[in-house]
Every structure is written in C-alpha cells, then in structure tokens.
Subunit: 159 residues, 2 copies
DNA sequence: TTTTAATAGTTGCATATACAACTATTAAAA
DNA sequence: TTTTAATAGTTGTATATGCAACTATTAAAA
C-alpha cells in the first residue's frame, strides 16, 4: 500500500549489522573457551571464581563491597560466590575489628598456589583473543568500547 | 635481585589494557540497561526471553535445536527457558508429525503482541549503544570482533 | 543523647546456565 | 531385519545471578 513504503528490514531489528549481538556472541565464545580451559585442570574452578582469585592476588584483603564492585557483580551474588570459594578452601573471610559490619577477604595458601598454577590458562585465553589483532586495532576497539560504556553510563545516571 | 629483572607488570595480567575485560564489562552494562528497560514495563520478561521472542518473530516454528543454536545456548538451558515462557503464555511447543523427536516452537498471539510492544525497548538499547559511534567505527569493531571469534573458533575446532 | 540514616553483608525467592545421564525416536550398519 | 548410532528433548544436580527483605552495625540528625 502506498502509505506503507517502509521495507521489512527497516521495521525489524537487524542483529547481523548491530554491535550489540556481535559483542554478546564474542563474550560467550570467550567465556566458553575460558571455562573449557579451566576444566582441563579438574579443579572444579569456575571462570567467575578465577577472576576473584586474580583480583585478590592483585590486592589481597579487599572487603566484599570492593570486591563486588571490581568484579562487576551484585553483593548478594558475591556472597554466595565467596561461600563456595571458602568451602573449597580458596579464600577466608575475616571480620574487621574497626568496623564490625565489614568482612575482609584473603587468599589462603591453597588459593594463592591455585591461582599461580592457573594463571597461564588466563594468559593463554587473553593472548588467543588478541592474536592477529594489531596494536592499532586494540586501541580502536578499547576506544569504541569506552564510548559505548559512556553512552549507557550517562543514560543510567540521569535517571 | 639481579636474576629477577622482570617487572611486576610483565608477570601479572593487565586487565586494564586487555580487550577481554573491556568486552565483558561492556556486555554487562548493555545487559543491565536492557533488563532495567524491560522491568519498567512490568511484564516479568527477562532479556533472554525477549531475544527468544525476537528470533521467533523473525522465524516462527523453529525447532528447539535450531532455536538453541541461534540464541547461543545449551539445549537444556533452552528447555527450561521455553518451559517458563510457555507457562507465561508467550509460546507453545508442538510435536512434529514427521519426526516425533522434534518440537516446533511458535509464538502465541500474546507472545507476538508482547514482542511488538517491547520492540521499541530493544531498538532503544541498540541505538543508545551505537550513539556517537560512526559508521567507520561500527565497521571496525565488527571486523575486530569477527577476528576474535575466528581466533577461538579455529582453536576450539582443532581439538 | 536518642532517634533516624545509611551501610555491609546474608537469605528467600526466582531465573538462567551447563554438564551428564536419561527417554524416546529415527537413521545407519550388520 | 535386527542391532547399533545418532539425534531431540527432558531432568538431576550444581553454580551463578539479581531483587527485595532482613540483621547487625555505624554514622548522622534531632
């Protein structure tokens, strides 16, 4: 009909030519490869737990609030993640004596040893990811990702 | 000590200057914004369910295998996702008469109406994401993401 | 100082996820 | 044709996730 000249393509959403779905698919692939690599070590470690180990190895003794923020997750989600990790002996929680609300999180000896052992896996995932990606492309993509994050952050904060 | 000239930076993994963590953080932000936008409609829809609605709206009647593949998830994960969506009246499953193993998935009237109503939300997320991103940058990032996916796919398939 | 906020962490509830083991059905091999 | 493979989907079990409501503790306001 003459008053409906829009093509189907314009009405519908084109996932093939949009950044969002490409990002999502890529991250799923990275996550899958990372988890598979971890599974080969038969330690029962999840990718999320490894990231926590890495962050604590960088800076031991963070409290749960800081750890939740830096690992980009909800505090209740972190609580349960840490409960599992504590049960497996990777970390311990210690109540602060200054502020009894706060719990600091520390790597155990086993947790530290495990991270050292698993670190090459993490390195391998990251170098696989950036294989054949030039320094220029790396700068480009990080720059674009920063722009995308800014787009959402400015919208979220304005609410 | 003289035999240990490596700086800490080289031994440790630098998340700030690696593509992986930047990708992960960006996708989390996109997901958060999408879910928040959906919540405003009080339909109890999750972002995963909306993607399924979108895919079925593009091509109704796919079987669960195809739907799992196109939405990038495990078949058992899809089973439970569909169970929830069927319970909420968005979709129905129909056993194939040709091959009794197969179940085709169809949008209900309510499912279709819901997707039409929710589609602007999806569009808004995607245009927010690409706001201020030039066509050149869009081509660049998709190109780099394709390269990253290829890096992992070739490693995974070679196992 | 007493009351009221805000903060840190936990728990209830619901969804999403994936691997492995399972059932049912169909296709391939003997 | 009978046996064996492969395939589609479901279920058990376990982890991860987030919102809302909760407890305990500390900080701010009255």
């Amino acid at each position: 009909m003459y008053f409906c000249t829009m093509s189907k393509k314009e009405i519908n959403i084109d996932f093939e030519n949009s950044i969002g779905p490409w990002l999502g698919k890529t991250v799923k692939l990275v996550d899958y490869f990372l988890q598979e690599s971890l599974n080969e070590h038969n330690l029962g470690l999840t990718k999320e737990q490894v990231i926590v180990l890495k962050r604590l190895h960088d800076q031991d003794g963070m409290n749960q609030n800081e750890l939740a923020f830096i690992t980009l997750r909800n505090k209740s989600s972190l609580t349960r993640l840490l409960t599992n990790m504590e049960g497996n002996g990777y970390i311990i929680r210690k109540k602060s004596v200054v502020d009894k609300r706060i719990k600091h999180v520390y790597l155990t000896k086993y947790g530290k040893e495990t991270f050292i052992k698993i670190r090459p896996v993490l390195k391998n995932v990251m170098s696989t990811l950036e294989q054949d990606v030039t320094e220029q492309e790396k700068a480009q993509i990080i720059n674009i990702l920063k722009k995308i994050q800014h787009n959402f952050n400015s919208k979220i904060e304005s609410i």
